[in-house]
């Protein structure tokens, strides 16, 4: 779902926003290392289906990776990294569009590590004094 509320931006604004967002994600003093080949590349396949904000975010992801690790990639690999950023963004856009209530909790819960779980074999004998863990509130 497009969360832009009808706001449309042109390519130039898009590029500016991407740069701004990237800058915000990169620590001060960290030099940009955006390869020319990637910067001038066509948008990855399917990118046009993303909202403007999502494209900015995907591009920011790519820029963040390039700023940290860009020297590791040749032009083909840069393209793959960029594709994977857009692919992830497509998933996130659909995921974020799914309606959730505030009270919809995540599927994973913390299982506090109890003393008895750490020592599963040593069940206390009948009448034995409670363990330290058992005394805790």
């Amino acid at each position: 779902m497009n969360k832009s509320n009808g706001l449309k931006i042109n390519r130039r604004e898009f590029a500016q926003r991407a740069a701004l967002l990237s800058a915000a994600m990169v620590p001060a003093g960290f030099a940009f290392n955006v390869p020319a080949a990637a910067a001038s590349a066509q948008l990855p396949e399917g990118a046009e289906k993303l909202s403007a904000e999502s494209r900015v975010e995907a591009e920011a992801r790519f820029q963040q990776i390039m700023s940290q690790y860009g020297s590791r990639f040749d032009s083909e690999e840069q393209k793959s990294v960029r594709d994977s950023c857009y692919s992830l963004q497509r998933s996130l856009e659909r995921l974020r569009a799914f309606h959730l209530e505030n009270g919809d909790a995540p599927a994973v819960y913390l299982k506090p590590l109890l003393e008895r779980e750490k020592k599963p074999q040593s069940a206390p004998a009948a009448g034995a004094a409670p363990t330290a863990a058992a005394k805790k509130p």
Partner: protein, 469 residues
């Protein structure tokens, strides 16, 4: 010298011979070793054979049995374990060059369980590097190279339990252990024409297994029948204090007894109408025939539909975020570049950018999906459909193009930790196996295994053998 037909027997059949002392575990191990040495390299099925250790274990099993200490149906049965399970003192490569020299000083819990029931570890099965967690586009994405399908060596076995599938299909061992995060047991089982079982999340300990995705990884058996899977599952299931994700003792354990403890009533099957958008023609034909078998042999078969939602996206985001943690160091250090597959060398970087907020959103979607699936299982004991809509793919295929169809069923099954079984249900015109999948409610592994056994009592597909000559 044992006849080839004996090597293709099920664990149940081999066990009867061993228990009655008509078959020596040493002789059986020697025969599987010889066959593995002959065909294993051609199929790229093994990461490593362990002949010395295997024969030691076989001799010990034989000695025990002759003393009257028969430990049950896996005693003296040779098996292979996917090369992401730790075996003390033996290289465990995870299928990946950066870990090629890795050796653990302990056994994975699954290996220990199988040791305790007297199974004989023949070797480590080849696999896709890091179980495919960083992405891959080619069958060759493995330290061992591409695993070839015994039914057609120009085709792939699927991954990531590639070697496990080939080993069982080619009768190089009695059974194998695979793992699944998203499709890695079911897909190789379907492509290789074997029976593969993915248990409910938390029933089988993952202690000593490579962690890819902490909330998605499962370990399960791959064998020559659903009944074999049931026997093996009974041996490896159980709570483990060393893996806190395992279920409590009473919910993790599984007891096998032939047919007697299966559900008294027949199973209600929900035939999924929206799992796959389209089938390859050869698969469609086999699946239609399987549907007719279900109609004849199950209590009821009614059309059912999976709930709609961003399940694949949620599973993908959870997987990516968890991989960013499990293999974050490999990615950040740049050693990921040592992986074989071009996609694997770069695919993990985007994972590092998944935010905690998005991960939590995916987990919230997951909770909603679990409730929807739980409600669906009020009407059905198992859901059924094709394991995959396509048969084994050519070894050279770019998988990003050839196996890129939507997979909501795989996403749902793994996201919710549901048990699933793939059983062979026919062949395409090119003699490639087709798999039928049964999916069950979390914790109702018995229903899924019963469905597979019922199907296999009515069919002979699981008894077909490839020609390796």
């Amino acid at each position: 010298m044992l006849k080839e037909s004996i090597l293709y027997e099920s664990v149940g059949e081999l066990a009867k011979r061993i228990e009655s002392k008509q078959l020596s575990p040493v002789e059986l191990t020697e025969a599987y070793l010889e066959r593995s040495q002959k065909y294993g390299p051609r199929l790229n099925a093994y990461a490593r054979l362990m002949p010395v250790e295997a024969l030691d274990q076989a001799r010990a099993a034989e000695k025990d049995i002759h003393r009257g200490h028969y430990r049950g149906p896996l005693h003296g049965i040779p098996y292979a374990a996917k090369d992401l399970l730790a075996v003390k003192g033996v290289q465990t490569t995870w299928g990946a060059k950066p870990f090629a020299e890795q050796v653990f000083d302990y056994n994975a819990t699954v290996i220990e369980h199988l040791k305790n029931v007297g199974a004989v570890l023949l070797g480590k099965a080849s696999m896709i590097e890091l179980a495919g967690g960083l992405g891959y586009n080619f069958a060759s994405a493995s330290l061992q190279g591409e695993t070839r399908n015994p039914w057609d060596i120009s085709c792939w076995t699927c991954g990531s339990s590639s070697g496990s599938g080939a080993i069982v299909a080619a009768a190089l061992a009695g059974f194998a252990i695979g793992t699944e995060t998203w499709g890695s047991i079911l897909c190789p089982s379907a492509f290789c024409g074997v029976s593969g079982f993915r248990p409910t999340y938390g029933r089988v300990s993952r202690h000593g297994a490579m962690a890819l995705s902490y909330s998605l990884d499962k370990i399960g058996p791959m064998a020559r029948s659903a009944e074999d899977c049931t026997r093996i599952f009974a041996a490896i299931a159980g709570h483990d204090p060393l893996d806190r994700s395992t279920l409590p003792v009473d919910r993790a354990a599984f007891t096998y007894s032939p047919a007697a403890d299966l559900k008294k009533h027949g199973l209600r099957v929900g035939w999924l109408t929206n799992a796959w958008k389209e089938y390859e023609p050869g698969v469609a034909k086999a699946i239609q025939a399987a549907h007719k078998v279900l109609l004849r042999h199950f209590a009821s078969v009614k059309d059912a539909a999976l709930p709609e939602g961003p399940w694949e996206e949620a599973a993908g985001v959870i997987l990516q975020a968890e991989v960013a943690s499990s293999f974050g160091e490999l990615i950040r250090s740049g050693r990921v570049k040592e992986l074989h597959d071009p996609q694997g060398r770069v695919g993990g970087y985007a994972n590092l950018t998944v935010t905690g907020g998005d991960y939590t959103t995916a987990q919230r979607v997951r909770e909603i999906l679990q409730k929807k699936m739980e409600a669906l299982f009020d009407s059905y004991d198992v859901l059924a459909t094709a394991t995959l809509p396509a048969p084994a793919t050519p070894l050279t295929m770019d998988l990003s193009k050839g196996l890129s169809f939507p997979d909501p069923l795989g996403a749902i099954g793994n996201l919710c930790g549901l048990p699933a079984l793939s059983v062979p249900c026919g062949f395409t015109g090119k003699n490639l196996p087709v798999g039928l999948q049964f999916l069950g409610r979390a914790g109702d592994d018995a229903a899924v295994l019963q469905a597979g056994q019922t199907f296999q009592h009515a069919t002979e597909w699981h008894r077909k053998r490839p020609s390796l000559a």
